[in-house]
């Protein structure tokens, strides 16, 4: 009965897996917001270093992880894979449940897997400062940690509702030397415009992205960094799924079901892409790869697959993705990291093609699952991760009904130690189960103002 399955440091993957190479046809390209022509490397130069642009567009199967990046990743990687014996026993399921624990990173989540290489490539390109946005603060703190390692300055636009709800994420950024500004702010034109219309807005990720992109585009020494959605971010996260595959092989197993929560899609990509590749190349054709999203922001389950802006102001390239419309401001649920109107173009494509699928849950049922997990496995998970836990528990309960001994793997992306006020709200019965009125919207489609 092995509870923790551990890889040695030298077994840490040396390459990222690029699922774009295994797609049957290339992705639809991002389009320029003004010309609607495909975006080329030159269009992105103003805000990204060339190596990341290359990775964004690459169709190479593997991309080397630089040695200096590996050195940093080894601070917490390879991360442990756990067999959730106690959860299995509690559920009385014949299924085997494994979870990948990404909360062991210094910032407490999977986000450092990409913040470190992104900071590294920017440093190499001679950039002095990085501007970014953060929703719940996970990404902002992860980038603050990474920029500190490479002596870069860091400005984080943090969605205002989280800035006040989660003050300790802001404090972490300060410890690592970053500047954290509540968004919308008056530092940018796009932020000021939103504030003028709506001085009491809680902010949203889409607005914060507009501010960070504007900051980077208007300062020569400054680049932009995104914590999710983009291809190169998903690429960096594939180290998670590759490790999982190795770790499961050590106990002679391979997952029937792979689960991750979905906001912008990067952690789900990280655990899911290596298995999606196995599925598309015929090695393991039947793996069920499931993204779990909040019912209040059900991009993959209820959105439309089409070109849309990545931000509210319409400054980013148009991406082909599942979207609820870039003007959709998701309600302030506690899983702040899952509040995004769109989704990673690759994840969207794979869901559209049927390689992956998605389900959605209300936040109170996700918290209930999070509590079950804490009371069996001990770890108090972040509200975002509790969605993945809920997905895994439901699949395990299905196995209980059918008697199937499936292997379920899910990504446990981070701890909830800064989310205790959200748990308090859950215990006080104060969580509101927001949802997206998709049926009414679908019936009336065509009457709703067009996205572009």
């Amino acid at each position: 009965m092995q509870t923790k399955i551990l890889l040695d440091e030298e077994q840490m993957p040396k390459k990222w897996y690029n699922v774009q190479a295994d797609l049957p046809s290339p992705l639809d390209p991002p389009l320029h917001p003004a010309t609607h022509k495909p975006v080329g490397p030159d269009d992105l130069k103003a805000i990204f270093p060339m190596e990341l642009i290359r990775q964004e567009m690459s169709r190479d199967l593997y991309i080397d992880i630089p040695g200096e990046v590996q050195d940093v990743l080894r601070l917490w990687r390879p991360s442990p894979l756990y067999r959730a014996f106690r959860l299995e026993k509690f559920l009385k399921t014949p299924a085997k449940i494994y979870y990948k624990w990404e909360g062991v990173s210094p910032a407490g989540s999977h986000k450092t897997n990409t913040s470190v290489p992104q900071a590294y490539y920017n440093m190499k390109a001679g950039i002095e400062r990085i501007a970014t946005e953060t929703g719940a603060g996970q990404w902002g703190s992860a980038l603050a940690f990474a920029t500190m390692l490479y002596d870069l300055e860091c400005t984080v636009y943090m969605v205002r509702s989280s800035y006040t709800q989660k003050p300790y994420r802001k404090s972490m950024m300060q410890v690592w030397g970053a500047e954290c500004i509540p968004s919308p702010s008056t530092k940018t034109k796009s932020g000021a415009a939103v504030l003028e219309k709506d001085p009491e807005t809680p902010g949203a990720l889409g607005i914060a992205i507009s501010e960070a992109v504007e900051d980077a585009a208007t300062h020569a020494n400054t680049n932009y960094a995104l914590g999710s959605v983009l291809n190169h971010v998903c690429l960096h996260q594939t180290i998670i799924g590759q490790e999982c595959r190795e770790q499961l092989a050590m106990v002679d197993d391979y997952p029937d079901i792979v689960i991750g929560c979905v906001g912008g899609g990067s952690n789900f990509a990280g655990i899911g892409f290596p298995f999606a590749g196995d599925k598309m190349t015929g090695k393991h054709k039947d793996t069920d790869i499931i993204g779990v999203e909040p019912a209040s922001c059900p991009t993959l389950t209820k959105g439309a697959y089409m070109y849309d802006f990545g931000d509210v102001a319409g400054l980013t390239p148009l991406l082909k993705m599942f979207t609820l419309g870039h003007d959709f401001v998701p309600p302030s649920i506690h899983a702040g990291g899952l509040r995004y109107h769109g989704d990673s173009p690759i994840v969207s494509r794979l869901v559209h093609d049927g390689v992956m699928r998605a389900v959605s849950y209300h936040q109170s049922e996700a918290f209930e699952a999070g509590q079950t997990f804490s009371r069996t496995e001990g770890i108090i998970v972040a509200p975002e991760a509790s969605h993945a836990v809920k997905g895994a528990i439901d699949e395990a309960l299905k196995c209980k009904k059918t008697g199937e001994e499936k292997t379920i793997l899910f990504n446990c992306t981070g701890h909830g130690n800064f989310d205790m006020s959200a748990y308090d709200a859950y215990y006080a019965g104060k969580l509101v189960d927001y949802e997206y009125p998709d049926e009414l919207i679908r019936e009336a489609i065509g009457r709703i103002p067009k996205i572009q």
């Binding site: 709506d198 993959l300 389900v359 509101v432 927001y434 997206y436 009125p437 009414l440 009457r447």
Partner: protein
């Protein structure tokens, strides 16, 4: 200094303890059956906690309609502005309200039930905010604080409170005693509420900004209302706001029918609804919870009967409510008079609460409560 009007209906609630389902016109019978007045005690429970509040000045009625209750609660500053005539509680209540309206008060605090609320509202309308200390037999109206202690909190915090809409409901007591429950919506008063965080789609409000919430709901409904479809609009200020956004003048307390943003019929009864929906392929019902208990059907809009709902179909009932109203209503209730239809609503329902925003609310289903939750999962 806040000026608080106080009206106590001394006989409120007396009928309840002796099985009279209300006290209107039955005071003597209630006394004969051994009922004792309890409204004074209820009022004191709300007043004792605020006896030290310095910035409140009470205007009240003589004797047990206010004066003796204030004195007994240790409240030092009050002025008797109305002398009770003692003919009937309803006449005295209305007369007292008229005097308080003339004297000018920031709030009328009253102790009674639905009948008292209705009497006071009939005089002051929306001009003066009302707050009820619950003491009656029936309390379907939304003007009541949940307890005397909660009323005390609202009165002392009046400076910081905000105003919300509250339905004035009453049951026809004669019909009720004969065995049928017929609630009517008599009006929509304004009631102080504690400032709480209320979430709309676009921002977190520090106060229940009801008008803004209603506007968001109306904008969304206008977007999703289908051409050619017949819409039955229930009573209340939220459905009224939808009609107003469509450019239609709706009856606040009645049920109206709309098609293609045009009024088809106003203030219709069940018969007219059945006639209008006859042969219609697509009928929708837009309703809002009415009253303090959260009834979406069966209170205040009985025109939308079981037969009408069946004709539209349960799936075509669209519930709308402001986030603040939902915050105060933990569960919704359905009472169409047809239990099998009530059960068709299931254990939860989507409630539109903002622009492209909904909440999932529990429906209290006594017979179903053991079968566990089945809400919430959507698969692609």
């Amino acid at each position: 200094m806040k000026r608080i009007g106080l009206i106590v209906n001394p006989v409120a609630g007396m009928g309840g303890s002796v099985g009279l389902k209300g006290t209107d016109g039955k005071v003597e019978e209630a006394r004969a059956r051994g009922a004792v007045p309890r409204a004074g005690d209820r009022a004191r429970m709300a007043l004792v906690p605020i006896k030290k509040a310095r910035d409140l000045c009470f205007l009240t009625c003589s004797g047990d309609m206010g004066e003796s209750v204030l004195a007994g609660s240790g409240i030092p500053h009050y002025q008797v502005v109305y002398t009770a005539q003692g003919k009937s509680s309803a006449t005295d209540t209305k007369e007292a309200a008229r005097v308080l309206l003339r004297e000018g008060v920031d709030l009328i605090l009253f102790c009674g039930g639905d009948g008292t609320a209705r009497d006071i509202f009939s005089v002051v309308g929306r001009d003066v905010p009302l707050l009820g200390i619950p003491a009656g037999v029936k309390m379907y109206s939304g003007v009541f604080a949940i307890s005397p202690a909660a009323a005390a909190e609202l009165v002392t915090g009046l400076e910081k409170a905000v105003l919300r809409d509250s339905e004035i409901m009453d049951v026809d007591e004669e019909a009720y005693r004969a065995g049928t429950l017929e609630t009517r919506l008599y009006g929509i008063a304004r009631t102080p509420a504690i400032r709480g965080m209320v979430q709309l789609s676009k921002q977190v409000y520090e106060q229940p900004d009801e008008e803004r919430a209603k506007l968001e709901i109306a904008q969304f409904m206008q977007e999703v209302m289908l051409p050619g479809t017949l819409y039955i609009l229930g009573a209340g200020t939220t459905t009224e706001a939808i009609a107003r956004y469509l450019g239609i003048r709706k009856t606040l307390l009645g049920v109206d029918v709309v098609r293609n943003s045009k009024l088809v019929a106003r203030d219709v009864d069940e018969k007219a609804l059945l006639r209008l929906t006859e042969g219609e392929k697509d009928t929708r019902v837009i309703i809002s919870p009415i009253g303090a208990q959260g009834f979406i059907l069966g209170r205040g809009n009985q025109q939308i009967s079981a037969a009408v709902v069946r004709r539209a179909g349960v799936a075509h009932v669209i519930v709308v409510a402001t986030p603040h109203k939902l915050q105060e209503t933990p569960e919704l209730l359905v009472d169409t008079g047809d239990p099998s239809l009530d059960r068709e609503f299931g254990e939860s329902i989507q409630v539109i609460c903002g622009y492209r925003l909904a909440q999932r609310k529990k429906i209290h289903q006594p017979a179903l409560s053991e079968s566990g939750s089945k809400k919430g999962k959507a698969e692609k």
